[in-house]
C-alpha cells in the first residue's frame, strides 16, 4: 500500500528489481509487487520483462496484474487516500462522510481511479473497526474521521514526502 516513486523505467532496471528477489519469491505476484515497489506502479513495458524472467506467458502475467486491487498500471498521484466503505465504518457514518469528501474535493470515490494530485479510492476494511470511519493516507491509518480530520490528513501527506 505504500509506494515509492523512483526514476527511469528500463528493462535493465526492471530485471535488476526481479533479480534481487530470493528464489522462493520468483513467482508472478511477488515479481509484480517488486516492480511496483521500484516504480510506484506496474508499467506496461514490465509485463514482457516479468513474463520473460519467469518463462511464463504474457497472459498469465496480465491475469495476475488485473486481478489484485493493489497493483496499479498508472503512476500514483502524490496522495492516495483509501476510504473504508465496509460495514463497521458504514455503521459509524462513512456514507455521509463520503458525500462530504466528494463535495469538498470534487471527486467521485472509485476503486483505484486517479483524479488530480489526490486520489480517493474505496477500500474494504482497514482493521480499525472500533474507531471508524477509518481512512488510510499514503499508508498511514487515521481513525474517527470527520471531514476535518480527512482534510488535515491529506494536507499532512502533501508536506511529508513518502
Amino acid at each position: 500500500m505504500v509506494w515509492k516513486v523512483s526514476g527511469q523505467i528500463t528493462s535493465e532496471s526492471a530485471i535488476r528489481a526481479l533479480e534481487a528477489l530470493p528464489t522462493h519469491e520468483r513467482l508472478i505476484l511477488p515479481c509484480l509487487q517488486a516492480i511496483q515497489r521500484a516504480y510506484g506502479f506496474v508499467p506496461d513495458e514490465s509485463v514482457d520483462v516479468v513474463a520473460g524472467f519467469l518463462n511464463v506467458s504474457r497472459a498469465e502475467v496480465v491475469g495476475v496484474l488485473t486481478y489484485y486491487h493493489d497493483l496499479r498500471r498508472t503512476p500514483p498521484p502524490a496522495v492516495v487516500v483509501g476510504v473504508c466503505v465496509a460495514e463497521a465504518c458504514q455503521a459509524a457514518g462513512v456514507r455521509s462522510l463520503i458525500e462530504q469528501i466528494e463535495h469538498d474535493f470534487s471527486v467521485t470515490l472509485g476503486v483505484g481511479k486517479a483524479s488530480g494530485p489526490v486520489e480517493f479510492a474505496k477500500v474494504y476494511c482497514l482493521g480499525n473497526c472500533a474507531l471508524g470511519p477509518a481512512i488510510m493516507v499514503n499508508g498511514r491509518l487515521v481513525g474517527r474521521c470527520d471531514i476535518g480530520r480527512v482534510r488535515a490528513a491529506v494536507v499532512d501527506a502533501q508536506v511529508v514526502p513518502r
Binding site: 495476475v64 486481478y67 458504514q90 472500533a130 474507531l131
Partner: protein
C-alpha cells in the same frame, strides 16, 4: 530514576494520535526535568480509551485515556507521572472491570509489554509451550490439540486436532504450515492486534504446528492493508532466528522450522484458504474445488496445515497449560475462548476474549455500552460481511458455533458490528451484493454474475418496481448463490441479504424506504 510510561504502538491507537502523545510526553517530561522511559506496548483492546497511557507505579500500572496531545501538559502538571487521580484516569489497569471480567488466553500478553522484547516474552510465559511440544512425541502434541477441543477460528470451525493428525500422517517429505492473516472481514481486527501486539505468540504457535506435523517452512499471508503488522512480524522473525527458536535447529531439538512473511495484494477472497494458497503460489486468488483438501494437497501440491492467526495463537497456551485447561472453558462443542471484536457504532469497542457461551446482548450492552451515537440499537451483524443481521430482540443468542447457526447466523471470525436505528437495511443488503460483485474471484457463475443481478433486483425493489415479484426473484437468486458457489463468498453473501429481508422487511417497501424503522 526514570518513570516508565506505556503508550500503545498499535495501529488503532496511532490512528487517533498515540505517536504524537508519546512524543509529547517525552518532551513535556524533559521540560519538567523528569526522565521517562516510553514503552510502545500493544493495545489492551479498550479501543475507545485510545490513546491509553499507562504509568508504572509502586502499586501497579495506572491508566489514563483517551489522552490527546493537548491533554499531555495539563496531565503531567496534575501528577500523571506519579499516577495521580484525574478526570481521564481509570485507576489501576489490573482492576478495570472491562478487563477483569474477560478470560484472556490468546490475548493474555497483548498490551503488557514491548511486543518485540524477547526477555519480556520469556518473563510472561513465552516458549513454555514450544519446549513442552519438543519434549514429547509429535503424536501426543496432535492428540493434545484434538483433546483441547480447539476449532478453526477463521470461521469454519473445523476441529484443529483432526487437521494436525491428517497432515502429520500424510505421506511426503515436503509439508507446509500456512497462517491465514488475510483478515478481510469488516468488524474484525483481532488478528492485526495480535500480530502487532504479541507476534511471538503466533510464531511460537506456528513453530509448534510445524515441528509437530513435519513441516520445515511456515508462511504467514498478511493482507497489505496491515503494513504495521507486516513490519512487526518481519522483525519478530529475525529476533526469533537470532534467539535460536526459528531456523535449522529449533531450541536445540535438531528439528528445522523457519517462517516467511508474505504480503497480500488487496483481495478479500484470498482469505478463503484455497484462494490464499493460489495467491501464495503467485497466481490469481481463485478458489480451488475441494477435494483434494489442503491438508493432503495444499501449497504447491504438498500437505499443508492451514490455520487462522487466532487458532495458531491459542496453541502455545494449550501446550503450556494442558489441553484439559482449555477444554474446560466454553460450552457444548465450542471449547476454549473466542476473541470477540466489538465494532461499528459502539460506545466501548475493542477486544473481548471470553469462554464461548456469553450472550450477544452481554457483549454489546455490558461490554460495548450500546451505541456510540447514543441512539437505540437496531441491528447487529455478527461474523463479517457474510454474516447475518440480527434484530435487537434476537440479541440473547449465545455466542457459540452451534447456537448462532441455529439462530440463522454464524460466528465467523468473531466480529460484532453494531448499527443504530438510522440504518437503512435495504441499503445494507444492497451493499452485501455490491461487495460480492467487487470481490468475487469469478470462478462460480452464481457469485460472479448473481451478485451484480442482486444489486439490480434490490434497486428495483426499493424503487417500487414490482416489489412483490422482485422479492421472490431475490430469494431465488439467493438460493442459487447459496447452492451453486464453491466457497463462502458466493455461498454466504445471501445470509446478510436474507436476514435483512426477514427481520427488516419494512425497509424494502418503497413507500417507507429508509424510513421504515422510525
Amino acid at each position: 530514576m526514570s518513570v516508565r510510561v506505556y503508550v500503545p504502538g498499535d495501529s488503532a491507537a496511532c490512528s487517533v494520535g498515540a505517536d504524537e502523545v508519546a512524543a509529547r510526553i517525552t518532551e513535556v517530561a524533559a521540560a519538567e526535568g523528569v526522565t521517562v522511559e516510553v514503552i510502545r506496548n500493544g493495545s489492551r483492546g479498550m479501543l475507545w480509551l485510545e490513546p491509553f497511557v499507562e504509568i508504572q507505579t509502586a502499586a501497579g500500572r495506572v491508566g489514563y485515556g483517551p489522552v490527546t496531545v493537548g491533554d499531555v501538559e495539563a496531565l503531567i502538571g496534575s501528577g500523571l507521572l506519579e499516577g495521580a487521580p484525574h478526570a481521564l484516569g481509570h485507576g489501576l489497569v489490573d482492576e478495570i472491570p472491562w478487563l477483569t471480567r474477560q478470560h484472556r488466553v490468546s490475548f493474555a500478553r497483548v498490551g503488557l509489554a514491548d511486543p518485540l522484547d524477547m526477555d519480556d516474552y520469556r518473563r510472561l510465559g513465552g516458549l513454555i509451550g514450544l519446549r513442552r511440544a519438543l519434549a514429547i512425541p509429535v503424536e501426543e502434541v496432535a492428540a493434545d490439540i484434538l483433546a483441547s477441543g480447539l476449532r478453526g477460528r477463521g470461521g469454519a470451525g473445523f476441529p484443529a486436532g483432526i487437521k494436525w493428525r491428517t497432515v502429520l500422517e500424510a505421506p511426503g517429505d515436503t509439508k507446509y504450515v500456512c497462517c491465514n492473516a488475510d483478515e478481510g472481514d469488516s468488524g474484525t481486527f483481532a488478528d492485526r492486534m495480535l500480530m502487532e501486539g504479541d507476534p511471538f505468540t503466533l510464531l511460537e504457535g506456528m513453530t509448534i504446528a510445524g515441528t509437530t506435523v513435519g513441516a520445515s517452512i511456515g508462511l504467514i499471508y498478511v493482507r497489505s492493508e496491515y503494513p504495521a503488522a507486516i513490519r512487526t512480524l518481519r522483525t519478530a522473525v529475525d529476533i526469533a532466528r537470532v534467539d535460536g527458536w526459528l531456523g535449522p535447529d529449533v531450541l536445540g531439538s535438531g528439528r528445522s522450522f523457519d517462517i516467511r512473511i508474505v504480503e497480500g495484494a488487496g483481495s478479500y477472497v484470498c482469505g478463503e484458504e484455497t484462494a490464499m494458497l493460489e495467491s501464495l503460489e503467485g497466481k490469481r486468488g481463485m478458489v480451488r474445488p475441494k477435494p483434494p483438501i489442503p491438508a493432503l494437497q495444499g501449497l504447491f501440491g504438498h500437505p499443508t496445515l492451514v490455520h487462522n492467526v487466532l487458532t495458531l495463537s491459542a496453541v502455545p497456551a494449550i501446550l503450556a497449560d494442558g489441553a484439559a485447561a482449555y477444554q474446560g472453558l466454553g460450552v457444548d462443542r465450542s471449547r476454549g475462548t473466542q476473541v470477540f471484536q466489538l465494532a461499528g457504532n459502539i460506545a466501548r469497542g475493542g477486544i473481548v476474549e471470553l469462554a464461548f457461551g456469553v450472550s450477544l446482548r452481554e457483549l454489546v450492552e455490558d461490554f460495548g455500552g450500546a451505541t456510540y451515537s447514543g441512539r437505540p440499537i437496531r441491528a447487529v451483524q455478527v461474523g463479517g460481511p457474510l454474516g447475518a443481521y440480527l434484530p435487537e430482540h434476537a440479541l440473547d443468542v449465545a455466542m457459540d458455533y452451534e447456537a448462532l447457526a441455529a439462530a440463522g447466523g454464524m460466528l465467523g471470525h468473531g466480529g460484532v458490528v453494531v448499527f443504530d436505528d438510522t440504518v437503512d437495511m435495504a441499503a445494507q443488503a444492497r451493499f452485501a451484493m455490491e461487495f460480492c460483485a467487487v470481490e468475487s474471484c469469478g470462478k462460480c457463475t452464481p457469485c460472479r454474475i448473481g451478485s451484480t443481478r442482486g444489486v439490480e433486483v434490490i434497486d428495483k425493489i426499493t424503487a417500487g418496481i414490482d416489489p412483490e415479484r422482485n422479492l421472490v426473484l431475490l430469494e431465488e437468486l439467493c438460493e442459487t448463490m447459496t447452492d451453486g458457489s464453491l466457497c463462502a463468498m458466493g455461498g454466504l453473501t445471501p445470509l446478510p441479504v436474507r436476514s435483512a429481508v426477514a427481520h427488516f422487511g419494512e425497509d424494502f417497501h418503497p413507500s417507507t424506504n429508509g424510513q421504515g424503522k422510525r
